[in-house]
């Protein structure tokens, strides 16, 4: 019984992929990729998702450390708030971002008035939207690894003359490196595929905010062949990354946390 049900699940995941491959215009593959909006969208997607991953690491690792190591009142509520965007529909996240960072938003109006910074409907806005939905993946992965880490190793390093900062750099972070990599890859993959928050907060302007997923969605009406090719590219990139990451990294890092 179990193998049967399991096999159904496998087919369920493989079948859509087969559908895409079946419909792919193999003869004009390169043409579809190298013409029209595809190269622009792909480039934009890669730039934005890498930025979003970078920001997730810079701010997410300290957040993970705070959640794992510092006892403060309301910690579990803070954790829930910071990971809410994982479960909230991305469109809702996009609307929320608009009312926070939009031109007339809670903070956005001052960003514009004081600093002349406008986030919505800009490439920076895409990065903000992607970071918003992607960072929690990194945070929970790294936090889980930090909780698992035997803090006595850090004690040992301290007695060997290492400052807190040195311990963080040479003991703590290297020890959670697999989780950090896994978390960063998950965050990156999430950013690359981000659709709802991006289109709501940053709109869909070719060259500035129209990333691959948006382009795929739009082309589905006008040029389905190109949509399929771009979809395959997104799948191929994600698949290569998932496979090249050793099972162990993703498996242990995520398994630990759940």
């Amino acid at each position: 019984m179990i193998p049967v049900l399991g096999s159904v699940a496998i087919i369920f995941f493989v079948l859509p992929l087969a559908g895409l491959l079946w419909k792919a215009p193999w003869s004009s593959l390169w043409m579809a990729l190298s013409t029209g909006e595809a190269p622009t969208a792909l480039k934009l997607s890669i730039i934005c998702s890498v930025w979003a991953t970078g920001l997730s690491i810079v701010f997410g690792v300290p957040l993970a450390w705070m959640l794992a190591r510092i006892e403060f009142p309301g910690r579990s509520i803070i954790r829930a708030l910071c990971t809410l965007s994982m479960v909230v529909p991305p469109v809702v996240g996009g609307i929320a971002l608009l009312y926070a960072l939009g031109r007339r938003g809670l903070v956005g109006q001052y960003l514009l008035r004081w600093f002349g910074i406008r986030l919505p409907f800009t490439t920076a806005g895409v990065v903000v939207a992607q970071t918003f939905v992607a960072m929690p993946f990194l945070v929970i992965t790294v936090e889980g690894a930090l909780r698992q880490l035997d803090q006595r190793f850090e004690d040992a390093a301290r007695t060997l003359g290492a400052s807190r900062w040195y311990v963080l750099r040479r003991i703590t972070l290297p020890s959670v490196r697999p989780a950090l990599i896994a978390g960063a890859v998950l965050a990156w993959a999430r950013a690359l595929g981000e659709f709802g928050a991006t289109i709501t907060f940053a709109g869909s302007f070719p060259g500035t905010t129209r990333t691959m997923p948006l382009e795929v969605y739009l082309q589905l009406d006008t040029d389905p062949k190109q949509a399929i090719v771009m979809a395959l590219v997104l799948i191929a990139v994600s698949f290569v990354v998932l496979v090249s990451l050793r099972d162990r990294w993703l498996g242990t890092a995520i398994g630990r946390d759940r």
């Binding site: 035997d150 006595r152 190793f153 004690d155 040992a156 390093a157 301290r158 007695t159 060997l160 003359g161 290492a162 400052s163 807190r164 040195y166 040479r170 003991i171 290297p174 020890s175 490196r177």
Partner: protein, 352 residues
């Protein structure tokens, strides 16, 4: 006094309140049951725990004094610590583990590694320098942990159960090696153990802790002769036999030869310790060839639960601890004759 400390710390149900004055070169064993506060003493001295009250000074420098809000971080103390399970860093190779403290102190990678290689060569582990720590045997890991702790030249060396993670086979040789290293160490060493034989081998003074208080301090011989209470008597209840080593053989003052496993004790006055649990009793002359066999008579029998303490007289004065089943099987009673045996590896030979 190199170390002058009054440690007051409350953790959970433990209320630690201990005073320690230790001179340079002192080797002190902290002996006591689990939860007595031994490890807490070490963590306070290392700076991994802040005192609630009291003080720690090292060579006149205040390391921790809550009343004047002084607390020196562990990395700024001249303290080295070796942990029970060694805590070698798995993401660094053996040499980088040893070099860790040197690099933390600002040494260059190349220079620190070279020093680490020399230190490893001193303990015969230079061939393992580039190995992962997982490739080390228990005894090797212990040596690396010790070398790592000593690499930064601490004035105070803290050893938490240094032999507990080793199996009985390597324990004897590692213990002897550790003793030699500690004898060369010029600073103060504090060794946490729950084994009086380790305490005797490694330290020249014993501090017995129970429930966060110091119960007694002195040499093991003093404690054995005049235990402050029954608790100390049982804890330190090892057999201490004084005598001399001549031509490599130990002869007690009563003229009994006792074989120890290969030892490094020079000729001259010496003391042997034997754990009561290491002594086996037989109703007849045992077969096989244990090296230490003595015919004794039972002087006193003290049965507590499943264990029985048997005081033996005759050829040699010993206290043995055996199971009550063994007592029943042997039909032992006060005045009966038994054969007592001890394996040479269970005989610890040290300087008087």
């Amino acid at each position: 006094m190199s170390i002058d400390a009054h440690l007051v710390k409350r953790i959970g149900t433990l209320q630690l309140d201990v005073e320690l004055q230790l001179a340079d070169g002192a080797r002190v064993a902290l002996l006591g049951p689990n939860g007595a506060g031994k490890s807490t003493v070490l963590r306070c001295l290392a700076g991994l725990l802040e005192l609630d009250d009291g003080r720690i000074t090292q060579d006149g420098r205040v390391l921790d004094r809550p009343s004047s809000r002084v607390f020196v971080e562990p990395n700024s103390r001249a303290v080295g610590m070796m942990f029970q399970d060694y805590l070698l860093f798995a993401h660094l190779d053996v040499a980088d583990n040893v070099a860790f403290g040197l690099r933390a102190a600002g040494g260059s990678r190349r220079e620190s590694r070279r020093t680490a290689m020399q230190l490893l060569a001193d303990v015969g582990l230079e061939s393992m320098a580039a190995s992962s720590v997982g490739a080390l045997s228990g005894g090797q890991a212990q040596r690396v942990a010790l070398v790592r702790a000593l690499a930064t030249k601490p004035k105070l060396l803290l050893l938490d159960e240094p032999l507990a993670a080793l199996d009985a086979g390597t324990r004897v040789s590692v213990r002897r090696e550790l003793r030699q290293r500690l004898q060369k160490f010029e600073g103060v060493s504090v060794i946490v153990t729950h084994d009086p034989v380790d305490a005797f081998a490694l330290a020249d003074m014993v501090v017995v802790l129970d429930a966060g208080r110091m119960v007694q301090q002195g040499s093991l011989a003093e404690l054995a002769v005049r235990p402050a209470n029954r608790y100390v008597a049982e804890l330190v209840g090892v057999n201490l036999i004084e005598g001399v080593v001549s031509v490599g053989r130990f002869i007690s003052n009563d003229g009994v030869a006792i074989s120890a496993a290969d030892h490094d004790q020079a000729d001259g006055p010496a003391v042997v310790t034997v754990r009561p649990q290491a002594i086996s009793l037989y109703g007849t002359m045992p077969t096989g060839s244990p090296r230490n066999v003595w015919r004794c008579n039972v002087v006193e029998l003290d049965i507590q639960g499943s264990r029985a303490r048997v005081r033996l007289g005759g050829t040699i004065q010993l206290v043995a601890e055996v199971t009550t089943e063994a007592i029943g099987a042997l039909e032992v009673h006060v005045g009966s004759q038994v054969w007592a045996t001890v394996k040479a590896t269970d005989v610890e030979l040290g300087p008087a």
